[in-house]
Each structure stands twice: as C-alpha cells, then as structure tokens.
C-alpha cells in the first residue's frame, strides 16, 4: 500500500520508513507539511501518517486539506503526537484524522493501528468496486431494454396506405418501460393498431410487452386461417384469444398490461376497438372540431381470467384524427410536480389539428419537453397518431394535376385547368354555377399562395391536383412557402370601406370545405372540396 510519511524529526521519520518498508509498503517520507501536501497531490496515497507539529504546514492543516479534496477512494490518516490530552484528540478528529499514535511509538502498536487503517481502505475499495459493478449491470440492463424496445416492442408505422396516415413516436426514459405498439395492414384497407403498456419497469416488463405483441400476431394468423377466406377476425376475438394465452401467466408473474386494439375501416367510416384499461384514445373530428374520448369498460390483461373482452364502435369521417398515447405523456411532470395532463393534451391537439401525423407527434414531443423542462423523462413517452385520409381511401373517378410557376400571370391557366377538369373530364360535369364557384375559389387560393406564402416571388412552384368522386370534386394546392395564418385575416368590409380582405371569405363561401394543412413532405397545402348537387351549389345568390 502507498503510504506518505510527514515527520520533521529525522530519527522518527527513518524508523517509520524502515518499519513500513519492511512490512512491504511503498513509502514516501518528507520532513514538513508543505512538501507532504505537494507529494500527496502528485501520487495516490491510501494512508498518510503525519506528525502534528511541523514547520511550514502542521499535520492538522495537511489532513484538513486532504479531506477537503475529492478522491476516488478513502485516505486513512494517522496523526503522530506527543500530546495525549482529550482536547487535542478532539481537534485532530475534527480535522479528519482517523487514528493517533503517541510518540515515541511502539513498533507493535504501529503495526496494529496500520492494519486497522489498511482494512478500512481495502473495505472501502471493495465497496466502491461493487457499486461500479452494479452501475455497469444497471446500464447494461438499460441497453438491453432499449434494444428489446427497438427490436421487439415497436412495430413500424405503415406508409402509403390509401385511407389513413400513421405516425408513431417513442422517447425512451432512463428506465425501461413495457410500452409497445404494432400495426397490421389488411387487404381491404383496414388497419389494426395495437398500443399497450406493461405495468412495471425493467427487462421483465419489456419482455412481457414483446410477448403480448407477438401473441397478437399469432392470434391474428391463427384466426385468419380458421375463418373463411377473406374474413377478418374481429378485434374482440383477437383480444380474447391473447387473453386466454397470457392472463394466467401474467397473474402468476404479478404483472398486467393495459392496451387498446383498434381497427380502422375507412371505407365503412368506423373504428372498432377493445379498450383494456388503456389511456383514453382521443378522437378529434375534423369537420366539427369536436373531441371525443374513446374508452371501453374492460380491465387490463392479466387481471382476471374471467374477464370477457368486448369491442366498441365509433364512426369517423374523412380528415378525423385519432391519438393513442401512454401515460408517460400525460404524466410527464414539470418542476412544480404538475402533470402535463389529458386536458392540456386535448387542447394541444385541437390547436394543432391541421398538422399531419408525423409533424403532429413531433410537436407533441416538443411540447412535453418544454413543459417538463427536461429531455430525459421519468417514463417512456409513446404516442401513435392516425389520420383518416381525406377521401377515406376512396378512389377518384378522375384525376389530373398541373404545376405552375408562382407567377400571377399564370392564374388564367390555373382557372382553365379547373374548368377543363370540371366540365370536360367529368360526365356529367359539375354544374356551370358550381364550376364558376370552384374556379373562383381556386383562383383566390392560388393568388394568396403567390402573394402571401411566397411573398410575390415568381420563381417558385405551386402544385395543383384535381380529383373527382361521385359526390364531390377536390382541388388541392401545395407549395413550399409560408403556412397560411388564418388568425391574421381581417373580416371583409361589406360596406365598401376597404378594398381588400375578401379573398378568404370568398373561398369559404364558394366551396363546401376548406382545409389548410402541412403534408407529410412538409409542404403547406390548401384543400378545397366542392360537393355536387348540394344546397350550396343549388342555392341562388340573391
């Protein structure tokens, strides 16, 4: 063991040096406190034996300085003293000395006192090393958990589905949670989304989450092979089968899992879901702006073997948004210990309803980070956003597109594109009046894009797509300019006192639906829907 000796009396120093070296220690000996302090800082001494009274720096000061420094390991300090009064011992211990040796010292006493010190230093070293082992093991568990999460717990959101857009996000916390999600795409445009959360933390929770997820996949293939060709097993049948498979084991392991299994059927405009005690899914209706919370009445998986899982249905329309999330989101806390909360989440979604799923969940994440003032969350944050496609996956009967430079001189060309599409490509065509109105709305919207989104720059592009369905014509304009901010629009002055401000009003009055949004590629879009043979089209302007 490396030992530092600080002793100004030559005989005493030599004696100490000789004894300690003979006992196998590595010894450095100096004759005053200042030198000792210098040497101490340079080398890693585990035991310091210092005389009390020394020139330049005394033993008390030396020990005080040693204690004030931060070390990786403990340093055992023995004070040599010719004093043995009680108050001296108190002063020495207050400075940080562990033990005392009275001069002239006895060889045997030195040996046993040294051995005691050695034991303390060794014990402390062993403790430190097992703490480090533990920390390494914990770190490894986190890494394993993260790997389980990425590879086994989280499915990949499907892309390019005709009827729905999906995006998912997981932000892992310092601990491992059992959050999981998966997606199953079926041939008839149906999409199944399963999101869940195993209660508990660590590798066991992650493994059980992975197990449930794979049980669903197995249940799906099992039931599909049992049913008639082409028929899909109902969500409640799937949940019941998984429940039969796992609940007994879960009860035995004293784990349970909340989850929601939802099937989106865009052509039929409805979602069937089984809610097993999961956080309530938020349904934002695009047309009316209303919010509904989807919740069933079933208990989590792994609670009761007798539970009978039942599905619930809810209708939806084109453009509706569904938001699934783990409680790590709503229970994110700020410095004052307040939760982010369901209410704030709902308000947030309402305010950002025009964003497409990918942009939306990123913004949700940013909002939670902002709220909690921290990038590292206590629980995993998981969310899945599902946006029903504007046309519910319906195929248009006619489609056309054009791209024009962002130059007002091209407006007549844009209008001609709309007229041609509505009058010549469609049979029967859109009514004359309906065509006039759609043409006007598209011209206004395009001119807004060029003048405001592009600030009059004529070297950019505007893309137009036209789609016709049995009951409506949809024109969409996309651009890479600034997003449109409806809140800055002034109401029109019908008394003729102001010349501007009519554009947005005209658009809203001329078509049945207007939607401003950002698409998945980051372009800002305006979408205009003109219904055929509706009251608005038939209405005679007075």
């Amino acid at each position: 063991m490396k030992i530092l000796i600080a002793e100004d009396e030559l005989v005493s120093r030599r004696l100490l040096e000789r004894h300690l070296e003979r006992w196998g220690h590595e010894v450095a000996a100096v004759s005053n406190g200042a030198e000792a302090w210098e040497l101490y800082q340079a080398g890693e001494f585990r035991i310091v034996i210092s005389d009390w009274m020394m020139p330049q720096m005394d033993g008390l000061e030396l020990i005080r300085r040693i204690r004030a420094q931060h070390h990786s390991g403990y340093v055992y300090a023995i004070l040599l003293t010719s004093k043995s009064q009680k108050e001296d011992i108190v002063a020495g211990m207050e400075a940080g000395a562990d033990d005392f040796l009275t001069k002239p010292f006895d060889r045997d006493e030195l040996r046993v006192r040294l051995r005691a010190g050695q034991r303390v230093v060794e014990l402390e070293g062993a403790l430190l090393s097992s703490l480090q082992d533990l920390e390494r093991a914990r770190q490894r568990e986190v890494e394993i958990g993260a790997r389980i999460q990425q590879t086994l717990l989280l499915g990949h959101p499907p892309r390019d589905l005709p009827g729905v857009q999906v995006a998912a996000l997981t932000v892992p916390s310092q601990q491992i949670d059992g959050d999981f999600y998966d997606f199953f795409v079926h041939h008839d445009q149906c999409l199944d989304v399963v999101v869940g959360d195993v209660m508990g933390k660590g590798v066991p929770a992650a493994l059980l989450g992975a197990a449930i997820k794979s049980h669903f996949l197995r249940a799906l293939s099992q039931l599909i092979s049992l049913l008639d060709r082409g028929k899909l097993p109902e969500p409640e049948e799937l949940v019941r089968l998984v429940h039969d498979d796992v609940t007994r084991e879960f009860i035995g392991l004293e784990f349970f899992a909340t989850l929601c299994y939802a099937r989106f059927d865009p052509p039929r405009g409805r979602v069937d879901f089984v809610d097993c005690g999961h956080t309530k899914t938020i349904h934002l209706r695009q047309r009316t702006g209303e919010i509904e919370m989807l919740a069933g009445e079933n208990t989590p998986l792994g609670v009761s073997e007798r539970e009978v899982y039942r599905q619930v249905s809810a209708p939806f329309e084109a453009g509706d948004l569904f938001f699934f999330y783990s409680d790590g989101l709503t229970e994110a806390q700020n410095g004052a210990g307040e939760f982010f909360g369901e209410e704030q989440l709902v308000d947030f979604l309402r305010d950002n309803a025009t964003l497409e799923p990918q942009a939306l969940i990123q913004k949700v994440h940013a909002a939670v980070v902002d709220f909690s003032h921290s990038e590292s969350l206590k629980d995993d944050l998981t969310c899945v956003a599902v946006r029903i496609g504007d046309d519910c996956g319906e195929r248009p009967v006619a489609h056309d597109e054009m791209e024009v430079p962002s130059d007002l001189a091209h407006l007549p060309g844009v209008r001609a594109f709309v007229r041609r599409f509505c009058r010549e490509r469609l049979a029967p065509g859109l009514s004359e009046q309906g065509t006039d109105q759609l043409e006007l709305a598209v011209a206004e919207a395009t001119s807004n894009i060029i003048r405001h989104a592009y600030h009059g720059r004529s070297d950019r592009r505007v893309q137009l797509t036209a789609d016709a369905f049995d009951d409506r014509v949809v024109i969409q304009m996309c651009h890479e300019g600034e997003a449109f901010d409806l809140t800055t629009v002034q109401a029109p002055a019908f008394d003729g006192s102001r010349e501007g401000g009519f554009g947005v009003y005209i658009i809203a009055q001329s078509v049945d639906e207007v939607r401003y949004f950002r698409d998945d590629s980051g372009k800002n879009c305006v979408r205009l829907v003109k219904r055929r043979n509706t009251s608005k089209e038939e209405r005679q302007w007075k």
Partner: protein, 112 residues
C-alpha cells in the same frame, strides 16, 4: 390592360376589353384607369367582356368608386356577366354599386 373610352355627352364610358380582371392584370388596370379617373367625374364601366373577376379585381373597381365619389364624381357599372354578378352579390357589393343591365341605362342614369 386594354380598354376603350368614349364620351357620351357628359359621361365617359370605359369598356374593359379583357376577359378577366384579376390578380394577373389588376396592376395594369389600376395604372391605365388612373388618368381616366383624373380627367372625368361621371364614369360608366362597361364590364360586358369580362368573364371573370376575383377579389383583387373587385377591390380595384371599388377603389375607382371611392376615388370618384371622393372627388364628387360618380361611377356606374353595366353589363355584368353571370359569374361576375355572382361575385358582386357574394360580397354584397351589388348594394354598394349602381349596376345597370345595359350601357344605355347606365349612361341615362348619369344624365338625369
């Protein structure tokens, strides 16, 4: 923007020759109409060639009305095609402007 002006007694009739008055040509219109409004106080816009007017075209015509009214003059409109008339009605400008079916009626109203 192409336009012809014709004096009928005290009244100046401006016939807009283009098919549209919209954001694509409204700047030209404003530039070309300014000297006409400067020199005349009783004006009729004959819009019968126009098939399309948008909000900026409407705003420009509105600005002509305010300018003339401000200088004690008058502006009448005539010959609005169906979609143009529909736009005026949509933003209730048919209540702000005096609109006549024909040029003669518009001119007569200013001579009365």
């Amino acid at each position: 923007m192409e336009m012809t002006t014709e004096k009928v007694g005290e009244v100046t009739v401006v016939e807009l020759r283009g098919e549209q008055l919209d954001a694509s040509n409204v700047m030209d219109f404003k530039r070309d109409i300014a000297p006409v409004l400067e020199a005349n106080s009783r004006v009729v816009f004959d819009l019968s060639h126009l098939r399309f007017v948008d909000s900026s075209g409407l705003g420009a015509i509105l600005s002509c009305l305010r300018r003339l009214n401000g200088a004690g003059g008058e502006l009448k409109l005539c010959g609005l095609a169906k979609p143009v008339r529909a736009l005026f009605e949509l933003v209730r400008m048919h209540k702000i402007f005096d609109i006549y079916p024909t040029r003669d009626e518009a001119v007569r109203s200013l001579h009365a």
